[in-house]
């Protein structure tokens, strides 16, 4: 990299966090610069250049900045620092370590180091002298929270390199040189455990990105059974406020089958992040028995933190996820909420007086969103190992209207759609994912169908489709009953409706706050789905529609007690037995069924 003289400038105008700078040299788009406010340097990013004037968005409050204040440009874009120690950290949107900041209140210009550079790591070499390597190849590894953290050839390295030397097994600090590589001109390039990468550019150091095919278990029945997401898949959760977006996302982050979880709290409530800060160091990862915090990194840019940094925060989170994916790990990336990110884009576009698109959002919003979602995915690394980033974002549609620009743009980019319904939320049917409006494109993938057949059961996909169908039938019956009145429809309508309710209460609804019910492994989901289908296929007889409601309430109650009990425990079996008894009460005997069919 060639040395160049860094550009300097002076502040010319200020409107909220948009500052115009008169620059004395070359300036590039998205370059980072620092504005001097009475000795405190405030970070900013170039978002537009006009002649010698650079328009910068300041990542802090601009209060107190004056005309003529000095500005220094850095020559690089917004970068994150990648290396061992990123896990279990709490960062702000620009990857400053929040725990290292002093005092209760945030101070502008208080920029802390993302990694613990003094910490010693147990390094183990993987590459040997003479190996030919490219960017992203593993040179060695250290142990980070019991997980192997690969030290890679920095992603910025272009072309092939030869390994000249790798240090011996032993303890090293992050910035120690652990390997020396030779480039194609035989020039020596030292490599440490730390590297930097610009957040707005995707890390593509992998061999290929196939269509995803592996089910990603979340423990949430209405997702896993009805609209499954896959490893490397994308999904989004739109819903009006109060419909349980955040509770659902937290549930996914706790239960999902991922090696590492990266959470971008983007422009949302601070108390929600505090909940994660408080709970995750305590909660156990159900799979490893270790604390959830050990596999989690949090990027917190809450709604009262500077708006411009909010835009950066989702990119920071994605880049960290891509870094760990290159180590062959399964990453779950959650962003809450992408609407706040879009609003940050809108605020800046507004201040720059760009011509607005729909709802005053910038015209290129759909492109920005789909570009971001495309960075997720399942990949084969150069060494044949696999890694994945599964991305689930929430969307907060204005007025709960799904026809607004952020929801519509996201719908084009994400493959799973988990629509939260106000009606379900109002009647406390949580998670409030609407079973009929929501979809997963993946269930149509033959790759995933094969996987489900092999890992769950041969007829699983058909059963899921059947259940969906029954839900629609139940809804139709409900509408008919509402139009024609309870006694204006045949009893069968009531039975169909209540059978749909059984599916709703037993499969769809799940208590995120119950010790047992909050997570349901796929084996248990299969068992319950079969049980529910059994009830569905049973013919019941009733003398009057008035008997239907209380009867099915009893059925549902037993099912619910089963959901609240440990799988296959005595209590579980007790209620299962009770359920069997209840079903027998109203079950039409097989001979009767045959008779009826004959008479028809």
């Amino acid at each position: 990299m060639k040395e160049k003289k860094l550009t300097k400038g002076k502040v010319r105008s200020i409107i909220a966090n948009l500052v115009v700078v008169e620059a004395d040299g070359p300036v590039s788009q998205n370059e980072i610069c620092y504005v001097d406010k009475d000795g405190v340097k405030l970070m900013a990013e170039v978002i537009k250049v006009n002649g010698t004037q650079a328009f910068i968005q300041v990542f802090e409050s601009t209060r107190g900045i004056r005309i003529g204040s000095d500005v220094e440009f850095t020559g690089s874009m917004l970068e994150v620092t990648l290396g061992p120690g990123v896990l279990s950290k709490n960062y702000d949107g620009l990857q400053h370590d929040l725990n290292k900041m002093e005092g209760v209140f945030l101070k502008s210009g208080d920029y802390t180091e993302p990694l613990d550079l003094e910490k010693e790591w147990e390094f183990e070499p993987v590459a040997k002298k003479g190996d030919t390597v490219v960017a992203g190849d593993w040179l060695g590894q250290v142990e980070e929270n019991t997980m192997p953290h690969r030290i890679m050839v920095p992603f910025k390295f272009k072309g092939t390199y030869k390994v000249k030397s790798v240090v011996k097994k032993g303890t090293y600090k992050a910035k120690d040189t652990i390997a020396v590589l030779l480039d194609d001109k035989d020039k020596e390039v030292p490599v440490t455990m730390v590297q930097k990468w610009p957040v707005k550019i995707a890390i593509t150091s992998f061999k290929n990105k196939p269509r995803p095919f592996k089910l990603m278990e979340t423990g949430i029945r209405t997702i896993d059974t009805l609209n499954p997401i896959v490893e490397g898949g994308t999904g989004f959760i739109p819903g009006p406020f109060g419909s349980g977006k955040t509770v659902l996302q937290h549930a996914i982050s706790k239960e999902a089958e991922a090696d590492i979880v990266v959470i971008a709290a983007c422009g949302e409530r601070a108390n929600e992040v505090v909940e994660i800060f408080t709970e995750f160091p305590e909660l156990e990862d159900p799979r490893t028995g270790r604390k959830l915090m050990e596999r989690t990194t949090i990027i917190a840019n809450t709604s009262n933190m500077p708006v411009a940094a909010r835009e950066a925060s989702v990119y920071t989170a994605m880049t960290i996820a891509e870094y760990y994916r290159a180590m062959g790990l399964k990453i779950l990336l959650l962003a809450d909420s992408t609407s706040r990110w879009a609003q940050a884009l809108r605020e800046m576009s507004n201040r720059m007086e760009e011509l607005p698109g729909p709802d005053a959002f910038p015209m290129d919003l759909p492109a920005i969103i789909s570009n971001f979602y495309s960075r997720a995915g399942f990949v084969y690394l150069n060494n044949g190992k696999t890694g994945s980033i599964t991305f689930i974002g929430t969307v907060s549609p204005a007025g709960g209207n799904l026809k607004e620009p952020v929801t519509e743009s996201t719908k084009k980019a994400a493959r799973c759609f988990y629509a939260l319904s106000q009606n379900r939320a109002d009647s406390k049917r949580y998670p409030a994912i609407d079973p009929i409006d929501s979809y997963s494109k993946y269930i149509e993938y033959p790759e995933l169908q094969d996987y489900l057949k092999k890992h769950i059961s041969e007829d699983w996909v058909e059963k899921v489709m059947e259940i969906k169908n029954h839900l629609i039938k139940g809804k139709e019956a409900y509408e008919q009953i509402n139009i024609l009145g309870d006694d204006g429809v045949p009893i069968d309508y009531h039975i169909t409706f209540w059978k749909g309710e059984v599916i709703d209460f037993v499969i769809l609804q799940q208590d995120a706050f119950d010790e047992v019910d909050r997570s349901s492994p796929i084996k248990r989901q299969k068992y319950m789905l079969d049980k529910v289908l059994e009830v569905y296929h049973t013919e019941f007889s009733f003398d009057s529609f008035e008997d239907v409601n209380p009867y099915f309430k009893k059925v549902i109650n037993e099912f619910k007690q089963m959901n609240f009990s440990d799988f296959e425990s005595d209590n579980f079996k007790k209620h299962e037995k009770e359920l069997k008894k209840i079903i027998k009460e109203r079950k039409v005997k097989e001979e009767e069924v045959a008779e009826q069919e004959e008479s028809n």
Partner: protein
């Protein structure tokens, strides 16, 4: 606020609009205060030499040769124990005839709390109103608005919450209060003998609307003083935030910004979040809890102001007149307190979550039954029972004039379940019904 001798006085204004004026000045800082012919103003835009000032008192009668003096600092307030019991205007000047407050001068609208330094809210704030304590429990460090139509008695309910809640200090931020409402609050606080723990910042409809923009920051800076310096629990009441947002849109409109939804500025979400996110539980024990009012127009919550508010606050409370019992109730369906999970069943009795959910679910069945009735269909026995339950539930629990503690609310809940339903219909976990179901066990 007096000017200092060496300050430069500008006398050449180049542009005047209804809310702003511009002039050429040097060395001015962003968001700095100034006075224009004695009226307070703040820097909102600087372009080279040209500085735009937002004049809080309005620009009526401002001449182009008005005297403009820059203060070299953003708006501040003097904080101290003496704030208690006092009434101030939006600039922090006493309006109760008392003396100026002596104390440390602090910038308003200061920095936010580092999220990792926040504590998880965990203290219940009891109000005695079952619609709140039972169904939508308030927690210290929470922020929650009443969504109310202008004709609803939200100011009365707020005053009731303020007096019943066990807070060390109560800070009232009144924006666009009618003079009558201002006097109402004053009287209620006076009569309750609670004045010594109440601080009020009031902008009435008689004052210029743009002044309102300072009220929340004034109130919250005072709140931070009591919560951080004195480790007190502070309850901040903000009424009415819709009028605050309207003032925001006036200013952005005058500055030729492109409006987004409902002619509100594109930054509305961030502007509101900056205020509401001041609600916090501090590690040293102090806390700031915000209860606000957002008035709706015709109950429309999709309007940009309630919509953005809903995404920021931790729930919302709706008031509704229940015609069956002829009283105002806290609506059980649309109201929500997001933080209730942190205290219910933990700080309150174990059966709290289940009783709350079951009662709301049974009420939902009652609503369906009522729809049937309205459409002229026959009701089943179950429908009849849910209707009976819902009515009694409204009268004995939801009505805002009910004042009982949480255990009594739960007992009432079980009493009503037992009166109207079978255990299976209520659908509560077995171990709870065993313990609390009224009457004999079967």
């Amino acid at each position: 606020m007096e000017t200092k001798a060496f300050q430069k006085i500008y006398t050449k204004i180049t542009q005047i609009t209804k809310a702003t004026c511009s002039l050429n000045a040097e060395g001015v800082g962003y968001e700095e205060l100034a006075s224009v012919n004695g009226r307070l103003a703040q820097v909102v835009k600087i372009q080279g030499e040209n500085v735009t000032l937002q004049v809080f008192g309005g620009t009526e009668d401002i001449p182009t040769n008005a005297e403009v003096v820059f203060f070299g600092r953003p708006p501040t307030i003097k904080v101290g124990e003496d704030l208690a019991g006092r009434f101030f205007n939006a600039f922090g000047e006493p309006i109760d005839g008392g003396p100026e407050v002596e104390g440390e001068e602090r910038e308003i609208g200061g920095p936010s709390v580092n999220p990792v330094r926040r504590m998880q809210p965990s203290e219940l704030i009891a109000t005695g109103i079952a619609g709140i304590d039972l169904n939508n429990t308030l927690v210290s460090g929470q922020k929650i608005p009443f969504f109310a139509d202008p004709d609803q008695p939200y100011n009365q309910v707020m005053a009731m919450v303020a007096l019943r809640a066990k807070a060390d200090k109560i800070i009232l931020g009144g924006m666009g209060l009618t003079n009558d409402d201002y006097l109402y609050y004053k009287n209620v606080f006076d009569n309750a003998g609670a004045l010594d723990r109440i601080v009020s910042f009031v902008n009435t409809t008689e004052d210029p609307p743009v002044e309102r923009l300072l009220v929340p920051d004034m109130a919250l800076t005072a709140a931070e003083y009591f919560a951080v310096d004195k480790n007190e629990s502070v309850l901040v009441l903000l009424t009415d935030m819709t009028l605050f947002a309207d003032a925001l849109s006036i200013v952005s409109n005058r500055m030729d910004q492109i409006p987004s939804k409902d002619s509100m500025p594109g930054s509305l979400y961030s502007d509101l979040a900056k205020i509401y996110e001041k609600a916090v539980q501090f590690p040293e024990g102090g806390s700031i809890t915000i209860v606000a009012v957002t008035t709706l127009s015709g109950g429309d919550i999709t309007h940009a102001i309630p919509d953005n508010t809903g995404y920021i606050t931790e729930g919302q409370l709706f008031l509704r007149r229940d015609t069956d019992i002829g009283k105002v109730i806290v609506d059980p369906f649309r109201s929500l307190s997001r933080l209730k999970q942190l205290v219910i069943g933990k700080k309150t009795r174990e059966d709290h979550p289940q009783v709350m959910n079951a009662a709301v679910r049974l009420n939902a069945d009652a609503v369906n039954a009522r729809t049937k009735l309205e459409n002229g269909f026959d009701l089943t026995d179950y429908d009849e029972r849910t209707l009976g339950f819902a009515k009694e539930y409204s009268r004995e629990l939801l009505a805002i004039d009910v004042n009982i503690d949480v255990d009594a609310m739960l007992d009432t809940g079980w009493k009503l379940f037992g009166k109207y339903f079978e255990k299976a219909e209520v659908g509560i976990k077995e171990d709870m019904t065993k313990k609390y179901w009224p009457g004999k066990d079967d």
